[in-house]
């Protein structure tokens, strides 16, 4: 130790000179400096020692301010800590070696995150200097909060008039590329050479094609509260916030896939057709359904309705009656003979065979026909429809409905050949010979599963689906007086109810499951009970008993549990507790099986249960050209699943025939949150769910007549209007059909841009405090309690009232307007201790505007202090008091309440020393400014630090207000702290100047602190090479040692830490140095 | 020099010694005081509060009387009288409607061309320190004096247009010219309680107490006043103040004209110095001044 000095301001010029002089005079070769954070002044001192001719890396800085004095409450302990740290620093410095950094050129492009006035200012300055700028904006337009303001204080300039020239300049600037609906995901690299990934959400409208004509929004059937107008008016999902918005094109607000659509196996756009139905556009609704579900009438009768179970309206009152509405649409079409084939492609010279005319086969045929294929459907049964026809009783699905839907398909040039048994009458080879280039196998499961118990072969014991098929085909079915049905699924219920209709005196349905475990649809079960079916739960069949080969009864044992702890089907029984039911007929409806011998001959892979194995996405079997779907691959599945698979197969077959391969199916949209949110709750129109009119039980058991008679037009429309529009845009396609320049693409998906820039300006702005956190102020409860941002919109000529200040409740001109200051500011209890800085002036401005609108009105302001620190601000505020005669009452408002229908604001007049109440027509809450809600994700994406509220931390509160601790990333505007417009603009300019300085210098110095390999120690184990994230380590095959590329190495040291023989070290952070520092600290 | 003289009610009542000493000092300085004939009360604080027009009218009445003397200046030793006269003249000049109303009330014309002086201002500004200095025969050597201006002579400056209201110095200058040792203090123009002497004596004790205590702490031999209300309030309340403090205050409160008279060589009894409640003569004698 040559010299030790204490100086209060070492970073000042005299302090630096002290160091320089000592180096020169005493010939120092290492310098240790203990003061503030090296993040702050390491470069300063490195420069200082450099100036004295010392290598800057021989300098060591010890942080005793941020880490000691500023955080310790015990001065003695802090001093001990500082001494330890200094000792460590000295010990380490001894091991420092001279290092030389390299230079890297700066990529002279800037990214501006946030398109408010601060970001716009920065962008224009940088772009005007001739550099490329990317502007990343989260919303659909740029302009930020300023775009929502009416006028600015204290000059009462029209906000739009001064902002829109700026936004349009940005919009057409050749050097600025605006990315709307975009957010920064993450950042790599370093100053001058950043790589930023930006996630861009779809606008659905191409900015290069949209002409802004507005035709689209005229046909949009959905109204949602406008976010730009803060909910004071509605907008269509396809719209633009205001006519001068930049980009000056429309865009669509869509949250994502609504839960109904996400739940539908066929992916039917439920929200879309419900919305269209609500608007009375039945034909369009049907067309939308048919994009994924060709059979509205059928589906509307028998679907298991997963859509309705997930419908968010169910969290408000009752789910939307989606299925009944769909049935209405199908029936309406038939009633009015509106059916026409969907637009079909030109007929191709390619033939496709579909085996099985069930829902899966029919669906495949439908979509293949649309694509122009020549489709032939082969069916074993004499009727078309598969299980629809022979598995579902007439009272649920009349034959006529099936026939009509089949007829539609037939009219699309689809050929049907019934009575042809696949595997017997025709084989795959036959089909190939006949020129079929692809086959879709959808043969279902038509064999009743057997119980395998004694007496099952007795006369009168019949398979459940056999029974249903025979009834459907009008074959002779013997049903006795006492019927036992075994099984707890929908088929069992259908069998039991059919038996009732066929005249059985008593029908007992017996199943293994407890009542609440039964797989049958609860509604069906309930109807069966209504029709007199007796349900016996938790009984397992033991045997059938009979006489003379005829069944006379069934014996059951108590089923103690159906499923094991893993939820697998594994019934256990109590053999001692037996129940016998007398019967003359027993139907066994415990499941379906395939004709396994038929499939085993096809030479394709089968699963153990005899099901065909297919690729999940393409439904291709292991045999090229052969696709399979429906029950024969899924096991007993629902109608809608089968239809979904038919369409899926059609797409796959099309890809196969068109492109010769199995293309990946379209990418999926992200589903939205299933939980109802407040906005949706508010959107729910007060309409009760329409109940389906149906026959009473006593009538319906007399025949197979349909139980449900269908919705009326009004019922369907009102159901459509019950839809909450959870996804916002419903993708009904109305706008697409209307758009002249074809600018709309509803299939657009999120995109990720990878952008390389040298500097980043973070100008993400502020959010507004959520006033509903003050329940005592009645925001959200009383329509005439609004925020000051809402008031801006009320004043604005392009706002919801066209610039008239009218109160929201009744549209009347308010006389008394009470402004409530410090809502969400200076309130520790609400988490915002700080002053939002602009609200005093905003209220003074707003009351002035109010008085200009209504000179006879009276404005009151409850305030704590009037903070008018700015040029001309105090004078403006005094004008509000002295000329606009606003009554300023010092005191924070205690409560806003309704007294006999009038809003009353209560607070203390603390200057007059008395509580006071004011009757208000309109209450304006001067809500404070808060960080953006997504500040944490922005901070993490860009490695920025924030204060405890979430405002970004500047490098130095006084001297580095536009810089961050990360070189190359700068701050502007409200994101750093509450600011008014001139301050934001000034900081935008400052941030731009920082970026331009960087570009102008053109080079940054790269730390020489990269990894160094000691080849003598390297054993060639290659551990390091695999760990390096930058591919900076390669293996030298000749010398069998690792080799480090300095240019690629970032100096993270992962390799060094992992090297088993300590052959790698990061320069300036070598084990010697760290060890010495540890020893020094702990000495 | 001839000037109109407006003594005011007190000077012919309880503040006789002020009147006597004023007349004496002026005589010594060759100033001829011509008392405004049939002058009336200015209405003081009560009139000012109760009826603005009456208050202005009473002063205007006096101004009209004074104007008839055909002298350019009028001097009022009582600071409140001075302020009321000045204020009335100024208000009427500014507001012709008021002037008209006032003239109707007093049934005569007011030209508003008089220069209105308080005595202190008259002596410092009009007569001048030089002329005063020349008359000093018996300097007040060794007398430690606290100059107390009170409110009315300097406040509000918009009316009085005299000296610095926060830190007036004219009295200091006169006392220094008279050879006295002037002590600095911070209560030069703090209020003594003025007209509350009778109705709110406790308030007066509170206000004067602060003044007396500080003056005593600074080692003053006397408090010098320019106002008869100040004189009375300070002079009469020292016993009560002493009761709270368990001390006995005997701080003479003297009109500046009395001291000036002494310095001019006049005998103390001719100046009325023997008429005060707290006897100043003992101190003056001790210092060889009386």
């Amino acid at each position: 130790m040559a010299v030790s000095r204490h100086y209060k301001y070492m970073c000042s010029e005299p302090g630096q000179k002290l160091i320089r002089d000592d180096i020169a005079e005493l010939g120092l070769d290492h310098v240790v400096e203990a003061s503030c954070s090296p993040k702050m002044h390491e470069p300063t001192f490195r420069n200082a020692v450099s100036a004295a001719g010392m290598n800057p890396y021989l300098f060591e800085m010890v942080n005793i301010r941020e880490h000691c004095s500023w955080v310790s409450e015990d001065p003695e302990a802090a001093t001990r800590k500082a001494k330890d740290l200094i000792r460590g620093g000295i010990a380490r410095a001894v091991h420092h070696e001279p290092l030389k950094g390299s230079k890297k050129s700066v990529n002279p492009k800037a990214m501006i995150v946030g398109g408010g006035i601060a970001g716009i200012t920065a962008a224009l300055k940088i772009a005007n200097a001739g550099y490329q700028v990317y502007m990343v904006e989260r919303e659909e337009i740029i302009g930020g909060k300023m775009a929502q303001f009416d006028k600015t204080f204290p000059t009462l300039d029209c906000s739009g008039c001064i902002l829109t020239p700026k936004t349009s300049e940005v919009g057409r600037h050749p050097n600025i590329q605006v990315l709307t609906k975009s957010q920064v995901m993450d950042l790599t690299g370093f100053v001058g050479n950043f790589k930023v990934r930006v996630l861009q959400k779809p606008r659905y409208v191409r900015t290069d094609k949209c002409t802004g004509c507005g035709d689209c929004q005229q046909v949009c059937p959905i109204d949602i509260p406008s976010p730009f107008e803060l909910g004071m008016t509605t907008r269509h999902p396809i719209s633009r916030p205001f006519p001068q918005a930049i980009p000056n094109t429309y865009s669509i607000l869509r949250e994502g896939m609504p839960p109904c659509q996400a739940a539908c196996p066929a992916g039917v756009n439920v929200q879309g057709y419900m919305t269209l139905t609500g608007a009375g556009k039945f034909v369009e609704a049907l067309a939308l359904i048919r994009e994924r579900m060709p059979f509205a009438s059928i589906c509307g009768r028998i679907c298991v309705r997963p859509c309705e179970s997930s419908c968010k309206r169910g969290q408000v009152d009752a789910p939307t009656a989606i299925c009944h509405t769909k049935r209405f649409l199908g029936d309406y079409e038939k009633e009015h003979s509106l059916y026409s084939n969907p637009p079909m492609k030109e007929l191709r010279d390619k033939k496709v065979a579909v085996i099985g005319a069930g829902p899966g086969g029919l669906s495949a045929a439908y979509y293949l026909a649309i694509e122009g294929y020549q489709v032939t459907v082969f069916e074993k049964l004499p009727v078309i429809g598969g299980m629809l026809n022979v598995g579902i009783p007439d009272y649920r699905l009349p034959r006529q409905i099936i026939d009509e839907e089949v007829e539609n398909i037939r009219s699309m040039n689809v050929a049907f050949r019934t009575g042809v048994t696949f595997g017997k009458d025709i084989t795959i080879d036959d089909l190939e010979d006949q020129g079929y280039q692809a086959v879709f196998l959808s043969i279902g499961l038509h064999v009743s599963r057997r119980l395998g118990i004694d007496g099952e072969s007795l006369d009168g014991v019949v398979g459940g689906i056999d029974m249903l098929r025979m009834v459907a085909l009008k074959e002779d079915v013997k049903v006795g007086q006492n019927v036992v049905v075994i099984g707890g699924g929908n088929v069992a219920i259908d069998v039991a109810r059919t038996a009732v209709r066929l005249g059985a005196a008593r029908v007992d349905l017996v199943c293994l499951e407890a009542r609440d475990e039964m797989p049958a649809w609860e509604r069906e079960t309930h109807e069966a009970i209504e029709e007199g079916v007796a349900i016996h739960n938790s009984l397992g069949p033991k045997e059938f008993v009979g006489q003379d080969g005829k069944v006379q009864g069934a014996v059951f044992k108590r089923c103690t549990s159906v499923f094991d702890e893993n939820g697998a089907f594994r019934p256990t029984y109590d053999e001692n507790e037996l129940t016998e039911l007398a019967c003359d007929t027993a139907f066994v409806a415990i499941g379906q099986a395939s004709e396994s011998n038929l499939l085993s001959n096809l030479g394709i892979e089968l699963a153990p249960g005899g099901r065909i194995v297919t690729d999940a996405e393409t439904l291709a079997t292991t045999r090229p050209g052969l696709f399979a779907g429906g029950d024969c691959t899924l096991g007993p599945a629902t109608f809608v699943q089968a239809v979904a698979q038919g369409r899926q197969a059609a797409l796959a077959i099309h890809n196969f025939l068109e492109f010769g391969g199995l293309r990946e199916v379209e990418s999926k949209e992200r589903p939205i949150d299933k939980q109802l949110n407040e906005a949706e709750r508010l959107r729910a129109k007060p309409i009760a769910r329409n109940e389906m009119p149906e026959l009473p039980p006593e009538t319906r058991t007399k025949s197979f007549d349909p139980i449900e008679s269908g919705f009326t037009e009004d019922m369907a429309r009102s159901e459509g209007q019950r839809c909450l529009s959870c996804g916002l845009c419903c993708q009904c396609g109305e706008c697409v059909r209307k758009c002249g320049p074809q600018a709309i693409n509803l299939n657009e998906r999120e995109r990720i841009h990878e952008l390389e820039v040298g500097a980043i300006v973070v100008a993400t702005g502020v959010d507004v405090f959520d006033a509903s956190k003050y329940p005592e102020y009645g925001y959200g409860k009383y329509p005439d309690v609004i925020t000051n941002l809402q008031f801006e919109r009320l004043c604005n000529a392009s706002g919801p009232t066209g610039g008239k200040i009218l109160r929201p409740s009744d549209g009347k001109v308010p006389q008394n307007v009470v402004f409530v200051q410090c809502v969400g500011s200076r309130d520790r209890a609400k988490g915002n201790e700080y002053c939002s800085k602009v609200c005093c002036m905003i209220s003074a401005k707003q009351l002035s505007i109010f008085k200009h609108h209504n000179p006879h009105g009276q404005a009151y302001v409850f305030y704590i202090d009037n903070r008018a620190g700015g040029k001309g601000y105090e004078e403006f505020l005094r004008r509000a008091i002295e000329h606009e005669h606003a009554q300023y009452i010092r005191g924070r408002v205690a409560k806003v309440f309704q007294d006999q229908g009038r809003l009353v604001v209560r607070g203390e007049n603390s200057l007059a020393g008395a509580p006071v109440e004011i009757e208000a027509d309109l209450v304006v809450l001067a809500t404070g400014l808060t960080p953006q809600k997504d500040h944490a994700s922005i901070a993490r994406a860009l490695n920025l630090s924030t204060d405890k509220y979430g405002f970004f931390m500047e490098l130095h509160p006084k001297l580095g207000p536009a810089e961050t601790s990360l070189a190359g990333i700068y701050l502007a505007g409200g994101a750093q702290g509450p600011k008014d417009i001139p301050e934001s603009v000034a900081q935008g300019g400052a941030a731009a100047a920082e970026a331009l300085t960087l570009f102008s210098v053109g080079q940054v110095e790269i730390d020489p602190t990269v990894a160094r390999l000691d080849e003598r120690l390297c054993t060639g184990c290659k551990t390091c090479a695999g760990l390096c994230a930058y591919n900076a380590i390669s293996f030298n095959e000749q010398q069998k040692v690792a080799s480090i590329n300095d240019a690629l190495c970032q100096g993270c040291g992962t390799c060094a830490a992992a090297c088993p023989v300590a052959a790698i070290g990061v320069k300036h952070y070598t084990p010697d140095q760290i060890f010495a520092q540890i020893e020094g600290i702990l000495a | 020099m001839r000037v109109s003289y407006y003594p005011g009610c007190s000077l012919e009542g309880t503040a006789k010694s002020y009147d006597i000493s004023v007349r004496h000092v002026c005589r010594s300085l060759d100033i001829q005081l011509e008392e405004v004939p049939t002058w009336a009360c200015c209405g003081s604080s009560p009139a000012l509060k109760m009826n603005r027009l009456l208050s202005t009218a009473l002063s205007a009445h006096n101004l009209a009387l004074a104007e008839r003397q055909n002298l350019s200046d009028v001097v009022a030793p009582c600071p409140f009288c001075f302020r009321r006269l000045k204020s009335a003249q100024e208000e009427m000049a500014r507001d012709p409607a008021l002037r008209q109303k006032v003239e109707q009330t007093i049934e005569s014309q007011v030209n508003g061309n008089l220069t209105i002086h308080n005595l202190l201002g008259f002596l410092t500004e009009r007569v001048g320190m030089k002329a005063i200095g020349e008359k000093i025969r018996k300097p007040l050597t060794g007398l430690k004096l606290i100059p107390y201006y009170g409110c009315y002579v300097v406040k509000p400056p918009s009316v009085t247009c005299f000296d610095d209201p926060a830190n007036p110095t004219s009295l200091d200058e006169i006392l220094r010219a008279a050879g006295g040792e002037v002590l600095d203090w911070d209560f030069k123009s703090e209020c003594c309680g003025a007209g509350l002497s009778l109705s709110k004596p406790e308030k007066v004790c509170e206000l004067t107490g602060r003044l007396v205590r500080d003056a005593a702490w600074r080692g003053a031999d006397a408090i010098v006043v320019v106002c008869q209300l100040c004189q009375a309030n300070l002079d009469l309340r020292q016993r009560e103040i002493g009761l709270t403090d368990k001390k006995e205050y005997q701080l003479p409160v003297i009109y500046f004209t009395e001291l000036l008279g002494l310095a001019f060589g006049c005998a103390s009894e001719q100046l009325g110095l023997d008429r005060h409640f707290v006897d100043p003569l003992a101190v003056l004698k001790r210092k060889g001044l009386a």
Partner: protein, 144 residues
């Protein structure tokens, strides 16, 4: 035991946790003065031998703090630190270092209050454990 003031070495990553520690200073988030910070570029740079060295040199606790997973300035250095920590813990217990004396934490640059809280909790915990007394075995000798 109440008089015992533990000495703790903290290896903080340059990009997140060190910034958080600085910001804790700027924000005056008070901390017990027992933690001595060593700045490293990345938590992934912390060689297990550094930690062992610290204990061998008399530290009563060691903490390593870096960016949150997914936020690493060097892509995934922190993940590597995490993987290494499992092995390191085993190694430390072999050396007789109680598990609680070593902590790995993710502290983002924005989480300065969290940093202060973490420091205070860790100091309390180590104080509770008492001083670390290295067993007089070859294990301790091995790293000295």
């Amino acid at each position: 035991m109440t008089d015992f003031e533990p000495r703790i070495i903290a290896f903080l990553c340059n990009w997140c946790s060190y910034v958080a520690a600085d910001a804790a200073g700027v924000g005056r988030f008070a901390q017990q003065a027992n933690v001595r910070v060593i700045r490293v570029f990345c938590s992934g740079m912390v060689d297990p031998s550094y930690v062992i060295k610290a204990f061998a040199s008399g530290a009563d606790g060691v903490m390593v703090a870096g960016c949150h997973p997914g936020d690493c300035h060097y892509l995934a250095g922190n993940i590597k630190a995490l993987r290494r920590s499992f092995l390191l813990r085993n190694l430390l217990s072999e050396l007789g270092v109680e598990k609680k004396r070593f902590r790995l934490a993710w502290i983002a640059a924005s989480e300065s209050p969290l940093y202060a809280q973490f420091v205070n909790e860790f100091v309390d915990e180590v104080r509770e454990l008492g001083p670390y007394l290295p067993p007089k075995t070859k294990a301790a000798k091995g790293v000295a």
